[in-house]
Symmetry: C2
Subunit: 328 residues, 2 copies
């Protein structure tokens, strides 16, 4: 029997293990146009926290007592869909489980870019797409800009650093702790701020004495406020997520938001789904960058379906460097 992680109760604040259960479930019969997939890799992502609340958002909430889902890569073991055969590797959205039945139209056969399959959950997947279009489209970042990236050792942030360097920008990344800061430096960041070593505002002011043109926000809170404080005229902020606010409803407080006016700051929220139609453009840059080493992929890998919840909870403790993945 296949097994899947189920949401058993809605978390208040940080999720705890008793909100979840790993349970067997009846595999559905395979209908026309469907695939049975044995999952090889699962993705866990901060945005999933939002789906654990019963609120209307850009993705529907997880249902109580039902299997959760999310990004996954697997191998087709049975196909009733034209164009798919056993052995094909696909990326799909029925994660958090070891076996899935998926509609073929929601599954993407992995393109031949010479990359290992798990990269399609990371630097070649939604993570990379988020970094690429958030930086270049939502923030309109261009050569010569001074770019500040929060959570620069994280899945999205680490790709932002590398794309920004590939495009000729000056990059300041923030990360928590010496190891992560070393990693961000190894990606090519010009300056790294350890937000655990002191107030981020002070660190950013030292790293960017002349201010910043672009801020790629993954965390909200004090980082966003520091970016307001250091923004140059016509600065552009891409707001991708605010992990600091995912687990509680505490209001975020800003001392420097008024600088939006004086500095003519543009702030733009975005959702990666909106860029799916531009996937080819993304592959066109990212494929070669990976092949020639301009961009490097880094994953934190947790082993086994049983550890999926630990991997997810680890996201909120900064347990990952690069993309957090589960190998089955």
């Amino acid at each position: 029997m296949p097994r899947a992680w189920h949401l058993m109760s809605r978390p208040q604040g940080l999720p705890t293990p008793d909100n979840f259960a790993l349970k067997e479930f009846d595999p559905p019969p395979l209908g026309d146009g469907q695939l049975r997939v044995r999952n090889l890799w699962l993705s866990v992502d901060p945005y999933m926290r939002g789906r654990m609340n019963d609120v209307k958002s850009y993705v529907p909430p997880f249902q109580l007592g039902a299997p959760m889902d999310g990004g996954a890569v697997g191998e087709v073991v049975e196909s009733k869909a034209e164009g798919f055969a056993p052995g094909d590797r696909v990326q799909h959205m029925a994660g958090w489980r070891d076996e899935a039945v998926v509609d073929a139209r929601t599954a993407n056969k992995l393109p031949e870019l010479g990359a290992p399959p798990e990269q399609f959950l990371g630097v070649l997947g939604v993570t990379g797409l988020t970094a690429y279009f958030g930086l270049l489209d939502a923030a309109s970042a261009k050569e010569g800009d001074v770019v500040f990236v929060s959570a620069a050792a994280g899945a999205v942030g680490s790709v932002v650093v590398q794309v920004a360097k590939a495009k000729g920008m000056t990059v300041i990344g923030s990360a928590g702790g010496a190891d992560k800061c070393d990693y961000v430096r190894s990606l090519g960041a010009d300056q790294v701020v350890d937000y655990k070593a002191g107030p981020i505002l002070k660190g950013l002011a030292a790293a960017a004495p002349d201010g910043i043109d672009v801020y790629f926000d993954n965390v909200g809170g004090d980082h966003l406020d520091a970016a307001f404080a250091l923004a140059r005229q016509n600065a552009r902020f891409a707001i991708c997520g605010m992990i600091e606010g995912y687990n509680d409803a505490t209001p975020m407080s800003f001392r420097f938001i008024m600088r939006v006016v004086a500095m003519r700051i543009r702030l733009k929220g975005f959702i990666v789904f909106d860029y799916f139609p531009r996937m080819a453009e993304f592959y066109g840059d990212m494929g070669p960058w990976l092949a020639n080493g301009t961009v490097q992929s880094r994953e934190t890998v947790v082993e086994g379906l049983d550890k999926t919840l630990d991997a997810f909870l680890g996201l909120f403790e900064g347990a990952n460097t690069g993309k957090m993945l589960v190998r089955l």
Copy 2:
């Protein structure tokens, strides 16, 4: 001897009369290219509060012990500048005083739009320009949009309401108290929320059950948070000023700022100076609108140079409906 209001000490929080003094000053001799102007109307504006702090911003701070300045309209009494003659009426930036010497290149002869001179400090001046380009450019508002305007009975807000209606938008305005709400309704607003009658979030949710496409922010704080809460997908916010934060350094707190991501909100700060090169475009719409009654000008007029400080302080108590002006 001419008299001018001087800044004698920098205010902490809300300014008090002892921060200022109305004093005689030596009229400078008239140099080449200069005009001596007898002021007829003075403008007082919330942004002037910022200039009372000793901080770098988009306009330099007022100097201690020196006359303050700001928008004014006056009559040329002496000219050493080509193209200007006694009797000409000019708009210039040497306000807060009854007589001024100004460089002719910083003075604008009032164009012949058939409008009374004080309107060049309001609906035909910086106030109108702010409303017009903030709405149409910074917020990219277009026909059919649902537009929320805070401080809709104020100088800028009251023009935003009328421009939005002239361009075929649905308008929700907020104002404090029944009289101001009646005024906003009289300008053509489809819905008016009295922010003194209850939380603005509740009022806005009732007035815009399907949400808003555009928010024109004059106040920051709870109004901005309510706009985050009610924003529809791809909503656009023009951030013009945040009067709630002008007098203290208390951080502003937001419960709903995370909706920037889900709703792909774009927020843009702007400074009216950036639109000065597009003045002709503005006159082209606003001149006819005033002439045919599409847009109406309303001023709160205070009489006499001695009352200028009262007029300014009144801005922070909501004493004005429409533009606050001083007639000399």
